[in-house]
């Protein structure tokens, strides 16, 4: 049952990843990417990390995909053109490199021998149980899995506090940097509504693009 479910999700995940990479139209690629993100969230559920799955959907589909879509809208013709991939030779070279790496990775994964008293990856076919209380050793893990939001919060503010603060600084820097980069030339004020304005610029730019699209489709 689980294996079938995994197989379905994995197949769809690989297919949507391929679609992202190969789709000519960038918005279609973005749509495939959204499907891929969602299937990764499904895999997180299969791994019993449902908090992470929710975070994945929230951050990737709710934010990253939207930003990417905005980026697509602002940087190209709305109609997909076919200059998004390299030449045939480059395509073959890239494909060969990818297939080669995949071979190496699969070989490595299936032939791993396990270091210093740990089992080889190949022989790990079951996960530590969390439902019955029999698995004493992973009790704290079981508690964490059953209420992951709580466990993540506690860990963030105790064990990973430095990383948490660093992530906060990084996000602030990224926010300021993104605004500073994306803001348009011209009369610029330094108030926090700049982000808003860049969004409005996005809107007006989109309007321009839409107009050009309409004229081109009429022609």
């Amino acid at each position: 049952m689980n294996q079938i479910l995994f197989g379905v999700i994995a197949t769809m995940g690989v297919l949507s990843a391929l679609g992202t990479v190969l789709a000519r139209n960038l918005v279609h690629a973005g749509l495939f990417l959204v499907a891929f993100f969602f299937l990764i969230a499904c895999q997180f559920v299969m791994l019993e990390a449902e908090f992470l799955a929710a975070v994945q959907v929230l951050v990737y589909i709710g934010a990253v995909a939207i930003i990417l879509m905005f980026g697509i809208m602002l940087t190209r013709n709305i109609q997909g053109d076919d200059t998004t991939t390299v030449s045939r030779a480059g395509f073959i070279a890239g494909g060969l490199a990818a297939v080669g790496l995949l071979t190496v990775l699969i070989f490595g994964i299936t032939h791993e021998e396990g270091r210093s008293g740990r089992p080889a990856w190949n022989s790990v076919t079951t996960r530590p149980a969390i439902y019955p209380a029999s698995a004493r050793k992973s009790e704290s893990q079981a508690a964490a899995i059953n209420n992951m939001g709580l466990a993540v919060g506690e860990d963030l503010l105790t064990r990973y506090i430095v990383a948490f603060e660093a992530a906060g600084i990084l996000l602030t820097a990224a926010l300021v940097g993104a605004i500073a980069l994306a803001i348009q030339e011209g009369p610029v004020s330094d108030d926090p509504s700049d982000r808003v304005k860049s969004k409005q610029n996005a809107e007006s730019l989109a309007a321009d693009e839409a107009e050009s699209l309409l004229t081109s489709s009429r022609a």
């Binding site: 749509l31 449902e50 939207i66 969390i130 059953n146 009369p187 809107e203």
Partner: protein
């Protein structure tokens, strides 16, 4: 109650289904009835209610031809929508055009399973239910974007751009005004939040709770694109926004999704601020959960019927509030909309999180809650912060010259240069 492994995700489902296979069947029937029967029915009569309410506000009668009081009007509308031709523009991106409304509808539907309508009546109870809810409700932005993009129509595209900018902006205050609840309940599970409100009273009944409820309501109205935040589908400016090019039942799906998300955000507000199906004063001395746990089906029903009734009454009031606002207020301008989100709502919500921490220290953490101290400290803080943020917001709006959009300014600059 078996809380530890109670969340129904595939692995647990699979484990249970080995014990007996009937729950699967039961689930499927329940889902089919509730999700494809009851919720669309609620939507239909929400639409009818909105038409009636709006008519009364405008001194009209509203629908009264089909059935008594026009009660069969939604069915007539549905038949009309279904029988209309489903047009797809020739230059549209066909598949994306077909997927987009489904995506929006799915996002609206997916919110509902975690809402606790009564004791044991949340379809699933994941321990991170609130995060899940926020996550799936953010899917609709993507659907709207795709709807606007795939239509190949500049009004659609403009509407979609407006909608996405608005949804992304107002998601921030929406989430920030939920944070106090997470802090007070100490959990992300909707059921636990409901239980805590049974213990501590509604989360609304505290100064930071009231402020958070108001900000959540404003953000909710913006999230479901209703007046005064209905710029994405402003008829007088951009026809019908992102669903300009949709017709027939596909337009009906947008309609369904819009009213379903109205219902969903009302359920959210009711469940986390208004104590779900409970009354403001406690019915019994002990938590409702212990009453419902392990009882017979009949006892569960008896317990749940009044809970569902009260819950639905609160949801109806909340929806009526939205109708009222829609019938009363004019539409905002784009710059006002954005400035209101980023300069007023977000700072206020962030300050409110700190105030709610004070409330937590005064009332929820001590074994003996000190309500007097809590109200005495937080009420002045809330009032001062509202006044302060409002003053800052007004001064910043006054300092900036009014301009319609940056786009028009840019064009005028270009014109003056040339």
């Amino acid at each position: 109650m078996n809380v530890a492994c109670d969340w129904a995700f595939p692995l647990v489902w699979a484990q249970q289904s080995e014990l007996d296979s009937i729950p699967w069947l039961k689930w499927i029937i329940v889902l089919a009835v509730v999700f494809f029967g009851i919720f669309p029915g609620i939507v239909a009569y929400t639409v009818w209610g909105e038409r009636k309410v709006a008519a009364r506000f405008q001194d009209r009668i509203g629908p009264n031809r089909v059935g008594p009081l026009g009660l069969l009007q939604p069915i007539a509308d549905a038949i009309k929508l279904i029988t209309k031709e489903d047009l797809v523009p020739r230059s549209a991106d066909r598949w994306v055009h077909l997927i987009a409304p489904v995506l929006i509808l799915v996002s609206a539907f997916l919110v509902l399973p975690v809402i606790p309508f009564g004791v044991g009546l949340a379809a699933v109870n994941p321990p991170s239910g609130l995060i899940y809810l926020i996550a799936v409700s953010s899917l609709s932005a993507l659907g709207i974007f795709l709807a606007g993009w795939s239509s190949r129509n500049k009004y659609s595209l403009l509407g979609a751009m407006r909608a996405v900018a608005q949804l992304v902006s107002y998601e921030v205050p929406q989430v920030l005004s939920i944070v106090p609840i997470i802090l007070w309940a100490g959990s992300l599970s909707m059921v636990t939040i409901f239980d805590k409100q049974v213990l501590y009273g509604w989360f609304l009944f505290s100064p930071p709770g009231m402020l958070a409820f108001v900000t959540l309501t404003i953000a909710n109205i913006a999230e479901v694109n209703r007046t005064p935040f209905d710029l994405p589908e402003a008829e007088s400016e951009i026809i019908a926004g992102y669903h300009t090019e949709y017709s027939g039942m596909r337009f009906g799906l947008f309609f369904l999704a819009e009213y379903l998300s109205v219902f969903a955000v009302s359920c959210l507000g009711t469940a986390i601020f208004l104590g779900g199906g409970t009354l403001p004063w406690p019915l019994t001395g002990e938590p409702v959960v212990t009453l419902g746990g392990g009882e017979t089906l009949f006892a569960m029903l008896l317990l749940n019927l009044p809970l569902i009734g009260i819950f639905m009454a609160k949801v109806s009031l909340y929806i009526f509030l939205m109708f009222w606002i829609r019938a009363t207020l004019p539409r905002l301008r784009v710059d006002q909309l954005m400035a209101f989100a980023w300069k007023f709502m977000v700072p206020l919500c962030i300050i409110n999180i700190f105030i709610s921490a004070v409330w937590y220290e005064c009332v929820i953490r001590p074994s003996k809650p000190n309500y007097l101290l809590g109200w005495g400290v937080t009420l002045p803080l809330v009032v001062v912060s509202i006044i302060g943020v409002l003053a800052l917001y007004r001064s910043s709006m006054k300092a900036e010259p009014v301009e319609l959009t940056t786009g028009s300014r840019r064009r005028s600059v270009v014109r003056s240069v040339s």
